[in-house]
């Protein structure tokens, strides 16, 4: 597949995401009977008079036929015009632009930390042999499952309790750009992801240790650590790399909770506030940005995977990879 077709496919996927999200939200909103005028005029329980309601309806084009409203909305989204926030009366793009950096910093740091934890645990766990090996493997497995399912809001609260309230090492709120304030939110986000990536990596390492290329290397007289670092790890890292794109999506989900818990500004906070006030343009804009980010990150993960993959460029690699990814999510 040429690089252009691949890029075109990715772009097409992003456009499809935009179309599906806009359509679902637009029609679901009207089906649910929610009147956007209410949100424009100060949210549920607004006391606005009839004149103000009529004025707002014509200002936001809500008095036009439904299909016209839909097409207008569609054209806006496809030309990156996200409209104005109902509640804050500011352009959605501006609001999101102001918050995006903080969330990306959080998510990228968390993904990096998750990789460091997962790699260290997986490589150390394979070092232990015999009875000790079985004990270590059991403990690591239990730890990984628990870490993966642990809710961010609870893990974060426990970390605040231990490292902020009791030990006083790190602040519990992270206003501003102080690196110390970033520590607890990043750790909270990273631990569940590390559990997930660790499971995938350890499965890969076990598989690699039993594979013919490991036997061949051993027969050549390569040391165990050389086999691990030169051969097995590259093999084991592949599914973890391709799943990092998917993990990044769950990190953005987690950011909603973590930003609320640590009082940190960001896209997640914006999305949450807009959800509670039913500020639809902001919600749709944030969801589109998240979807776009996900597409960009999975594309990057794809590229990295091509670089790391030690196998010759063959046709069946893609299917093999998808199958592995699928198996890991299940």
């Amino acid at each position: 597949m040429s690089i252009f077709r691949w890029a075109a496919g990715r772009l097409g996927a992003a456009a499809l995401v935009a179309w599906v999200v806009t359509t679902v939200v637009f029609f679901a909103l009207r089906a649910a009977g929610g009147d956007p005028t209410e949100a424009i005029l100060g949210g549920p329980g607004s006391q606005a008079g009839e004149d103000a309601v009529a004025q707002a309806r014509s200002d936001y084009g809500l008095d036009r036929p439904l299909i016209v409203q839909y097409l207008v909305q569609m054209r806006r989204i496809l030309t990156f015009q996200l409209g104005d926030s109902y509640a804050r009366k500011q352009p959605v793009a501006e609001l999101i632009g102001a918050q995006l950096g903080s969330t990306m910093l959080l998510a990228v740091c968390a993904l990096a930390l998750a990789w460091v934890i997962a790699l260290s645990v997986a490589t150390l766990a394979t070092r232990a042999q015999g009875v000790l090996g079985r004990v270590v493997s059991g403990l690591v497995q239990a730890g990984e499952v628990t870490a993966t399912v642990m809710p961010h809001f609870w893990l974060g609260a426990v970390l605040i309790l231990v490292f902020s309230s009791t030990l006083g090492w790190f602040p519990a709120t992270s206003v501003g750009a102080s690196p110390a304030g970033l520590v607890l939110p990043v750790v909270t986000l990273a631990i569940p992801t590390a559990g997930f990536l660790g499971q995938v990596m350890r499965d890969g390492l076990d598989e690699a240790a039993a594979s013919p290329f490991a036997t061949t290397a051993r027969a050549r007289g390569a040391s165990e650590s050389r086999i691990l670092w030169r051969h097995s790890l590259r093999h084991a890292a592949l599914p973890a790399i391709s799943l990092s794109g998917w993990s990044f999506g769950s990190l953005l989900s987690g950011a909603v909770v973590v930003e609320s818990l640590f009082g940190r500004p960001g896209l997640g906070r914006l999305l949450l506030d807009a959800t509670s006030t039913r500020d639809v343009p902001v919600v749709v804009g944030s969801v589109l940005v998240v979807a776009l980010t996900y597409t960009v990150v999975t594309t990057m993960a794809d590229g990295v995977e091509r670089l790391v993959d030690p196998r010759p460029r063959g046709a069946d690699r893609a299917t093999d990879r998808t199958l592995r990814a699928e198996a890991a999510i299940v």
Partner: protein, 276 residues
């Protein structure tokens, strides 16, 4: 799954960990159906003099700001948390069944169209998708439950579709067709059981995940609200007193984590049993 696998062999495939997880989940189900068996008290009984009592013999998990017993509340919250998780999963799996079967057995064009939409929705993180739906439907227990159900549907549909495809294209289905068995019989005898058994495993895992997401929405103040003993709402209510009374946050959060972990272990073991 072969016909020769016997019941005891299946139980053994659960393993010690799987058996522990199963017992834990069964206890949780009993607590959901009959909470007074474990905690006879009233979860809403107020006792201001006993407010903020630390965990001890009288109050296993301590008491909250109005002196309500946290253990009693966690036990009584099981019904809501487990029930909401199961209901959300039922919605997700139900919708996925329709979509997955249509895509898996329907004409090629329909499959292509549905697959694209499934892929797109799968690309959106579930909690973000759930927030989008809550923004549309409004706050409350029922909207969050439906939102989590709908948000998890693309994942299930994706797995179901490929499962249906592989079963429908397998040699034994072809053999049954060549024998001249009617299509409905082939579906009922071969396609349905071989598709649904793996689904049981995945849905078990899914209930654990749904409990975490629903409680996250309650924690964010979009689902069940604090007087209710729903676990996420309890963590939300306790977070104000984190330093003064850590047990208010710790106990319900531990219940969520342990339940989700047990369901994950059980789901994986069931998956292995299904494959055996």
């Amino acid at each position: 799954m072969t016909a020769t696998t016997t019941r005891p062999a299946r139980l053994r495939a659960l393993g010690v960990t799987g058996a522990f997880a199963l017992v834990f989940i069964l206890l949780m189900v009993v607590a959901a159906v009959w909470p007074t068996l474990f905690a006879p008290g009233d979860p809403d009984a107020i006792d201001p003099r006993a407010a903020f009592t630390a965990p001890g013999l009288a109050h296993w998990f301590g008491t909250d700001e109005s002196g309500r017993d946290v253990f009693t509340r966690v036990v009584h919250g099981t019904r809501q948390s487990l029930g909401i998780g199961a209901a959300a999963t039922a919605i997700g799996v139900g919708l996925a069944l329709v979509i997955g079967l249509l895509a898996g057995l329907g004409p090629r064009r329909l499959d292509a169209a549905l697959s694209r939409v499934i892929e797109v929705l799968f690309a959106l993180p579930s909690l973000v998708l759930a927030l989008l739906l809550v923004a549309v439907m409004g706050k409350g227990v029922t909207p969050t439950l439906i939102a989590v159900g709908l948000a998890t549907a693309p994942g299930y549909a994706r797995i179901l579709r490929s499962q249906v495809r592989s079963v429908a294209g397998s040699a034994y289905v072809e053999a049954a067709r060549l024998e001249g068995q009617p299509a409905l019989l082939v579906f009922g005898r071969h396609v349905a059981p071989n598709t649904l058994w793996p689904l049981v495993a995945i849905a078990t895992l899914g209930v654990g995940q749904a409990i975490v997401w629903v409680s996250a929405l309650s924690f964010l103040g979009l689902g069940a609200l604090p007087p209710s003993p729903e676990w996420g709402a309890m963590v939300n209510g306790g977070r104000v007193y984190l330093v003064r009374a850590w047990w208010l946050t710790l106990a319900p959060g531990l219940a969520i984590t342990l339940t989700a972990a047990a369901l994950t272990v059980l789901g994986r073991r069931l998956g292995r049993v299904a494959a055996a």
